[in-house]
């Protein structure tokens, strides 16, 4: 039962709920560790006291001022697709769901730019822009279940970042409500002071983003698809580097290591042949057994090598007008073949494009089979990419089965996206005795600790586009020296009462009844 205090009569016009189904629905985002909790029977432990659905910036101001005056934690909420526990309400918190702020206020065709409210969902937003002849150029894998405000708050990246950049490259100005309950219009500037760099990526901790002016691009008239094979992943990323440093800007450039490429060749999401097939079965049992010894499994895959798994595969998509896309695709082919790449036709790239949002739907059967899966996206400069790739892969590989692809390339570096799957690893001691799910959680935490430590040691960033939330918060201090103290100063300036999403980005100093600290937990089995 909710312990929400009654709202004053002055706020009676707000749409709000303290009903149990709503509190359960808003108790979490899509952090995979939550899935483990649910599987273990701990359903929606982080239920907020109340949910409010404002329909205007003025209503956001009202609820923020109420929260400030009463010291009530306030958690801004888009569509809940975050994967780092950016949403983890405490029992006294109000969740502020912004999806009713869903208007396009204006499209400036001469800019071109758009003024859009933060709660607009991704797909309908892009569809509206395309009907007007434009694109934002932002296509995150979560586009079906994420909002414009969520993209900005988490510093998101889309699949076409090679041409259009990340979301921070699209923000011209932001309308937001500070923790003081004041409306702020913050503009990006190229040669002057700007608050936009602080607000983008602030994950609801500094202000509630209510609208944004975002640059637009003409809707592309054509796309040119191509795929290339490389003898090794390293040769592939060296070719990606050369493409971007030569000034080419493929909208999509994704390099898959041999195992990931083999999976991509075999197909995307497989539909169940009959009802109920997603339940744990023989395949799940075999996987559970194999993943108890991930080091052996990873070694086996490595041992197969490219002669059995096949080559590393680079997928490229150029887009724009007819001449631009064709010219750049031809130039890329000339460069890549000169580097020894084998042209693999348009098919693999078209296949990827067709299934580009499907990967998010692979997770549920994995958890249902008693396993777990997750992803970590790290980045660094080209010079350190090998150390980062090998370091994180080796660290994860002690605990889970791991594969990788490289996406989001830039002239000075690249993002590596590791996907991993695991189960209750052998030798988890007390956790193993406590049961399968507890042992899975112990393995999951150990894998994450090892991966983040390895990313830091290799000089990489712990997050390229998923954000920090609470799952990576204990590592922010190592990533940016002085960053935690600087953030605290920003927090006091934007949100003096400390009501906005407390605990995200930087762990709360006071005990949090719901917090799970990955930093303080002991390393099970001493193996991390």
């Amino acid at each position: 039962m909710s312990n929400a205090r009654p709202l004053p009569p002055s706020l009676s016009h707000l749409r709000t709920s303290t009903a149990e189904p709503d509190r359960v629905a808003y108790a979490r985002d899509l952090w995979p560790r939550h899935h483990l909790s649910v599987r273990a029977g701990r359903v929606a432990n982080h239920r907020p006291a109340r949910i409010v659905w404002p329909a205007s910036t003025a209503e956001v101001v009202e609820i923020v001022r109420y929260a400030r005056d009463t010291g009530t934690p306030l958690v801004p909420f888009g569509a809940g697709s975050g994967v780092c526990a950016g949403v983890l309400p405490t029992h006294d918190a109000i969740v502020l769901d912004l999806k009713r702020l869903d208007r396009i206020r204006h499209i400036e065709t001469g800019g071109p730019w758009v003024d859009v409210e933060a709660g607009h969902m991704g797909v309908p937003f892009e569809e509206k822009l395309e009907r007007e002849g434009f694109t934002l150029g932002h296509f995150p894998s979560s586009i079906l279940c994420s909002t414009v405000g969520g993209w900005i708050a988490a510093r998101s990246a889309g699949q076409c970042s090679g041409r259009y950049g990340k979301i921070e490259d699209m923000v011209l100005s932001l309308e937001c409500v500070t923790g003081e309950g004041e409306v702020l219009e913050a503009s990006a500037r190229t040669s002057g002071p700007s608050l936009v760099p602080f607000l983008v990526g602030s994950e609801g901790t500094l202000a509630v983003i209510t609208a944004a002016k975002l640059r637009l691009q003409p809707k592309p008239r054509v796309r040119a698809f191509a795929a290339y094979h490389f003898a090794s992943t390293e040769k592939g990323w060296d070719a990606m580097r050369r493409l971007f440093q030569a000034g080419l800007r493929p909208a999509v450039a994704r390099l898959y290591d041999p195992f990931d490429a083999m999976l991509a060749r075999q197909g995307s999401v497989k539909r169940a042949k009959s009802k109920g097939e997603v339940a744990p079965g023989l395949g799940g049992g075999v996987l559970r057994t194999l993943l108890k010894s991930p080091g052996v499994f990873n070694g086996l895959i490595d041992g197969l090598g490219t002669h059995l798994l096949g080559p590393a595969q680079l997928v490229l998509v150029f887009e724009g007008d007819q001449l631009e896309a064709a010219t750049d695709a031809a130039e890329a082919r000339r460069m890549l073949e000169a580097e020894g790449a084998e042209y693999a036709g348009e098919g693999p790239a078209q296949k990827w494009f067709l299934h580009r949002y499907s990967v998010s739907y692979r997770q549920a059967p994995v958890f249902a089979a008693g396993l777990f899966s997750d992803t970590i996206e790290v980045a660094t400069t080209w010079e350190k990419l090998g150390d980062l790739y090998n370091g994180v892969r080796a660290a994860l590989g002690q605990h889970v089965f791991v594969m990788a692809h490289l996406s989001h390339a830039y002239p000075d570096g690249c993002c590596i996206y590791f996907s991993f799957a695991g189960s209750a690893q052998r030798g988890r001691g007390a956790a193993e005795d406590a049961g399968w799910d507890a042992a899975c959680e112990a393995t999951y935490d150990a894998a994450w600790r090892a991966a983040l430590r390895a990313a830091d040691a290799a000089g990489g960033t712990i997050a390229h586009h998923h954000g920090v939330g609470r799952s990576k918060a204990p590592r922010l201090r190592e990533e940016i020296a002085g960053g935690v103290e600087a953030f605290a100063a920003l927090k006091r300036a934007f949100d003096p009462a400390g009501i906005l999403n407390p605990g995200a980005l930087v762990p709360e100093p006071k005990p949090d009844p719901y917090a799970i600290s990955l930093a303080s937990a002991p390393a099970p089995g001493g193996a991390s």
Binding site: G192, F198, G201, G247, A379, D412, C415
Partner: protein
């Protein structure tokens, strides 16, 4: 390609050195140190809106006026909270001073941007009252 350079290096000196290595920042003759140039928002540098995949400033080390050191290791992009480079870039030394920076450089014969993307937008709009108030508050809090 990146170069790490001390903030007190004259920009012209840096460009001359890069030229001997076959590289350039692509900046004309500007009389300023690298630190001053970055603090003023790198006037004359390539327009960040022209090529969204490319950034000038990849990392930095600086000291805030309150005495704390901030170090951002070079990386093309990150999503690790707010962009703390914003404490220095374009802030005209309001919050602190740079010690060194990592800058993206290009080969002299490589065009940094093959096809600039046009944008009609006021890139340096006048600060409004809300922005001024918050910049002042941040300045005070950073000194604590």
């Amino acid at each position: 390609m990146l170069c790490e350079v001390s903030a007190d290096t004259p920009l012209a000196e840096l460009e001359a050195f890069l030229g001997t290595q076959g590289c350039s920042l692509g900046v004309g003759a500007i009389e300023a140190t690298v630190g001053q140039w970055i603090a003023e928002g790198a006037p004359g540098a390539r327009d960040p809106f022209a090529d969204p995949a490319d950034h000038l400033l990849a990392g930095l080390r600086g000291v805030l006026h309150g005495g704390r050191t901030v170090e951002i290791r070079p990386c093309p992009r990150r999503a690790a909270g707010p962009d703390f480079a914003g404490l220095f870039f374009g802030q005209w030394k309001r919050f602190g001073d740079l010690t060194s920076v990592w800058l993206r450089i290009a080969a002299l014969d490589a065009p940094a941007t093959r096809r600039p993307m046009p944008l009609a937008w006021e890139r340096n709009a006048k600060l409004n009252a809300g922005e001024q108030k918050l910049l002042g508050a941040i300045e005070r809090e950073l000194r604590k």
